[in-house]
Subunit: 161 residues, 4 copies
């Protein structure tokens, strides 16, 4: 399987579709770009995920979430990751590998989405606090992809399409 397809598959297994992420992008960018459609957002979300940085961040982050759920890593680290009261910090850093390559608009949108948790982000975040489920990395990855797609739209506009 291609790495891109694997990344999409892993996201889906964890409850996140391209459509879900595109809706976050639409929410972030709709007030700045007249006539922005969900279809356009879907296209740009795909463009973001295609990048090597995104694929590696998605596969790695979801793996850590899964290892944590399965308690395959040291108990102390499991506890830190499961708690994630915002002080762990490695989840945001990993997401930066996606955000950084998309410039400063991606960065501010990432911080914004991470705080207000629109749509699927909130669902993923809540889900991660239920029982043994761990979405510590997933919610930051979703924010990072959505914010990076928003940045692509801000830079390239919608005429490009």
């Amino acid at each position: 399987m291609e790495h891109y397809d694997l990344a999409i598959k892993k996201l889906k297994e964890r409850g996140v579709t391209i459509n879900d992420i595109a809706e976050v992008t639409l929410f972030l960018q709709t007030k700045y770009v007249k006539g922005l459609t969900l279809d356009h957002c879907i296209e740009e979300v795909k463009n973001v995920i295609k990048k090597r940085e995104s694929i590696n961040a998605i596969l790695t982050g979801i793996s850590i979430d899964e290892m944590t759920e399965k308690k395959l890593i040291d108990k102390e680290l499991c506890d830190i990751i499961m708690d994630d009261e915002g002080l762990y910090g490695i989840d945001e850093i990993l997401a930066l590998s996606i955000v950084n390559v998309h410039g400063s608009i991606a960065l501010t949108n990432f911080g914004y989405a991470d705080k207000i948790k629109p749509g699927i982000v909130k669902i993923v975040d809540n889900d991660g606090h239920n029982g043994n489920k761990c979405n510590t990395f997933l919610d930051d990855i979703v924010c990072a992809i959505a914010a990076s797609a928003a940045s692509r739209i801000a830079h390239y506009g919608i005429e490009k399409k």
Copy 2:
């Protein structure tokens, strides 16, 4: 004059007091820290500004804003900076020199504050779009200091005081 005092003085000349920034910090952190006071925020804002990274970013950012207002730099760059429709990007990057040294909570709060522009940030931003005034760097610097102080409070709590 000490560099710290100079940084405070320059901020004040541009219309920003420590109190103004502390109010942004209070806004950012009040829901997470029970009993957080403006006085505590003022203390942490001062701690942030004392750092060499902050002083250098404040002095440099405000200098660029001033040079732009006085049209002492190339017309093309002046136009890019004055317009600042979010695509310039150097203002956010400069602010990162403050944010980075305060960890990932500072980063997400910076992105959040930069988008919703609470209190003095909105005033500074509006002021920067009036006539020949340029606050392109100043508003990001204010967000960065407030977000970094919020991160200090999240990490150290209020017992430390």
Copy 3:
């Protein structure tokens, strides 16, 4: 066990002592600071590791290396991490969580150490290409700690001691 002690223990299990890292710091900083000793470097390496950002990066990075060795993560990701021809990128990003909080001197020293691989860095790197051993994250973490300690020495000098 305290998280700091656990971080030190994990490093040791993977073949890296505080002394090893301090020697990299000494190598990086000796030409800039007259009279710099290994003891002083050891002190600053400890100060770096004590930070929450460092502990989390050490525990997380080593966990991924271990999961990769044990083939507990998806085969595709295992292959990407084991190969690490510099295109994976998540290892450097994770190390940035340590480097960023220590300012720009840490950043340039990190890039430098990552390229020339002094002392223990080279040993760890070579070791990671033998059979099923994986040190993809470990070598970047060592560079990040050594570079951050170098930055502390540059900023605070040796009088502070």
Copy 4:
């Protein structure tokens, strides 16, 4: 004049040609890519400079160097920038706006080039310590462009051509 052409012109006025930067890229990447030519490096240096992030960083950084030389900014900040003993830090941060969008290979190469100062970087650095000349930002910008072009070559190879 197009912003790209202006950026090239400003670099040239400050003593740096595309060819000079491409030679640094060739130096950085020649051992990793068989058959890499200066012409290919020139092409990738141009691709880096074409990006909005690069143009804005080049124009802004050179403007600060020029303002500092002409003593148009506060004396205290002039002294900090002219001294640049590595503690100023804003020059490296500004260069990061170029480096970040090119991934982690760009980052490590940037740190490496900043430390060993190959070719034009050393010339620019020395020149900046003569009399009233200030190249504090310029040398980091050159390192950032060269390192980013090196990263493009590492990612895309030379077949792409």
